[in-house]
């Protein structure tokens, strides 16, 4: 929106805005790229042997070797698969519970204290129990991830539904919207912005929990690459797996933003990135 306004201005301002649009994301690259270059130089000049913290070139080689053999893709896919399912289940449960407890005061009083108590349990503490209950294969991992995703989504949806502006709901009442129409035409769009934030928070936790799940008895996945790298003393492999996590995490987060942004163009926000 702001860009549109700027474009309407004088041509000078347009080119300046255009340049700013290219340069602004580049600004965020300055720090990581600078640090990587410095470290590479330090190792090349012999200031460090780089055995524990491998320089970028070594990490890149490891990364491309893993990719060339298809190992990286296999592990990344396994991880992505687990996160995807955990995310789907966690979001479904979180949305349903959040919507109900946000809407109905009675349900809120009955259900919310229990869920809040469960939330305060460090989720890794569930792992032994989940393994007993669901076995050591995929089910227990996906459920652990779903638990991680559930809570931020639940809290976000509940808070959003509870804080829908009474005045806007009243507009719906004046136009005699039925319960379902009220949800579709007023409540749903009203909670959208908070919902997207909740989904992003949930996805972030999903990525955290997949590592925990894969630390505990997995033969595939990026988490397995981490453990494997530690046990075989291959720090470059660990960093390569971390880099893969960063790329996947950022990409999936960006996906949520990209998919949701057409629905949120109406927002009157302070910051437009």
């Amino acid at each position: 929106m702001t860009a549109g306004v700027e474009q309407a201005g004088v041509p000078e301002a347009t080119s300046k805005a255009g340049r700013a649009r290219v340069l602004r994301p580049a600004l965020g690259l300055l720090l990581p790229v600078g640090l990587a270059v410095l470290w590479e130089m330090a190792v090349r000049m012999g200031l460090s042997n780089g055995r524990l913290v491998p320089p970028p070139s070594v990490i890149w080689n490891t990364f491309s070797d893993l990719a060339a053999t298809g190992e990286l893709q296999r592990h990344a896919l396994a991880t992505l698969w687990r996160v995807a399912w955990g995310f789907v289940f966690g979001v479904m449960a979180g949305t349903i519970f959040g919507a109900i407890t946000g809407y109905s005061a009675l349900t809120h009083r009955i259900v919310d204290p229990t869920l809040q108590a469960l939330r305060s349990i460090p989720s890794i503490a569930w792992v032994p129990l989940f393994i007993l209950w669901f076995g050591i294969f995929e089910a227990s991992k996906i459920i652990l991830i779903a638990v991680g995703v559930f809570f931020p989504v639940y809290l976000g949806v509940m808070g959003a539904v509870m804080s829908v502006d009474r005045k806007i709901v009243e507009v719906g009442r004046v136009f005699r919207l039925s319960g379902l129409a009220m949800v579709r035409r007023i409540l749903l769009p009203a909670v959208m912005p908070a919902y997207v934030i909740a989904l992003r928070a949930g996805l972030g936790l999903g990525w955290m929990f997949v590592v925990a799940a894969e630390f505990l008895g997995a033969s595939t996945g990026l988490g397995f690459l981490l453990i494997d790298g530690q046990q075989l003393g291959k720090p470059a492999q660990i960093v390569a797996a971390i880099v893969a996590f960063a790329i996947l995490g950022k990409t999936t987060d960006w996906l949520i933003v990209a998919v949701s942004s057409p629905f949120l163009r109406w927002e009157d926000r302070f910051a437009r990135t």
Partner: protein
């Protein structure tokens, strides 16, 4: 015909917000209510709109008791209350879901044209000024063609110039379909510009204190002696309703001071 029959409202905490309000508003009449704060004027409006039905008595429109929002009754609030996720045109058409798309489009187009915002149809509400947003709200309320339009201090958040502009605008729109207007304001000038009848309310519990007919010819000239005459009457009634010493010259004196040529 809109009738309030001994309408009373007692809140669950025991506060008596309204008591024994009886009045009849003819179709097409403009009834404006004023009164001190807490005199129940907004509560009265909310019983008429069906948002908060009365606890005693009834509100009846054309023989039907109003206990919930009704399709023949539209409402305009102090704030525009536009839905921020709908563009201006979709906001205006919000109450027209049941109509076919073509009909909806022509009605919305007509309404936007009528409030002078055709070029804003594709714009988000956040891009409107306060006066424009309230005009959209008026269009949204009028587009389903209600028989009764309830207005709760609709212009009080606007600056004086915009307010006068919107008052004229409202009268223009009212002249199209002549809905009954029931409005609350705390602006005496606004009441006299708009009203056929001014109702002064008094608090604890909220009730009708005085009704003042206002039959000045339209369009009304705020600077005219006749306007000033009505204004003095209303101000005096307001003072009495608040148990204050009357701060304006009352009726008799005004009439004497204004000389004989005043009557309409």
């Amino acid at each position: 015909m809109l009738v309030l029959d001994r309408v009373g409202k007692v809140y669950p905490n025991g506060v008596r917000a309204l008591e024994g309000i009886s009045l009849a508003v003819a179709p097409g009449e403009i009834l404006v209510t004023i009164g001190g704060s807490g005199c129940g004027k907004s509560t009265m409006l909310r019983t008429v709109s069906g948002l908060d039905p009365p606890t005693q008595g009834r509100v009846v429109l054309d023989g039907t008791a109003i206990t919930a929002p009704h399709e023949k009754i539209g409402m305009i609030f102090q704030e525009p209350r536009l839905l921020p996720w709908l563009r201006v045109a979709d906001n205006v058409g919000f109450g027209l879901e049941q109509y076919p798309k073509a009909e909806r489009r022509t009605r919305v187009g007509g309404a936007l044209d009528r409030v002078g915002l055709t070029e804003k149809a594709r714009v988000w509400p956040r891009e409107l000024s306060g006066g424009q947003a309230q005009r959209v709200a008026i269009a949204r309320a009028l587009v389903p063609r209600p028989e009764v339009l309830v207005l709760d201090e609709p212009f009080s958040a606007l600056d004086a110039f915009t307010r006068a502009d919107l008052q004229d605008h409202l009268l223009d729109l009212w002249a199209d379909l002549k809905p009954t207007l029931v409005m609350v304001t705390h602006d005496v000038d606004e009441a006299i510009v708009l009203a056929d009848r001014i109702m002064v309310m008094r608090a604890h519990p909220g009730r009708v204190y005085e009704e003042i007919e206002c039959e000045l010819p339209r369009p009304r000239d705020r600077q005219s002696a006749a306007f000033d005459f009505v204004k003095r009457r209303v101000l005096a009634a307001l003072d009495r309703s608040l148990d204050r010493a009357v701060t304006v010259a009352d009726e008799g004196e005004t009439r004497a001071a204004a000389g004989g040529g005043l009557w309409w």
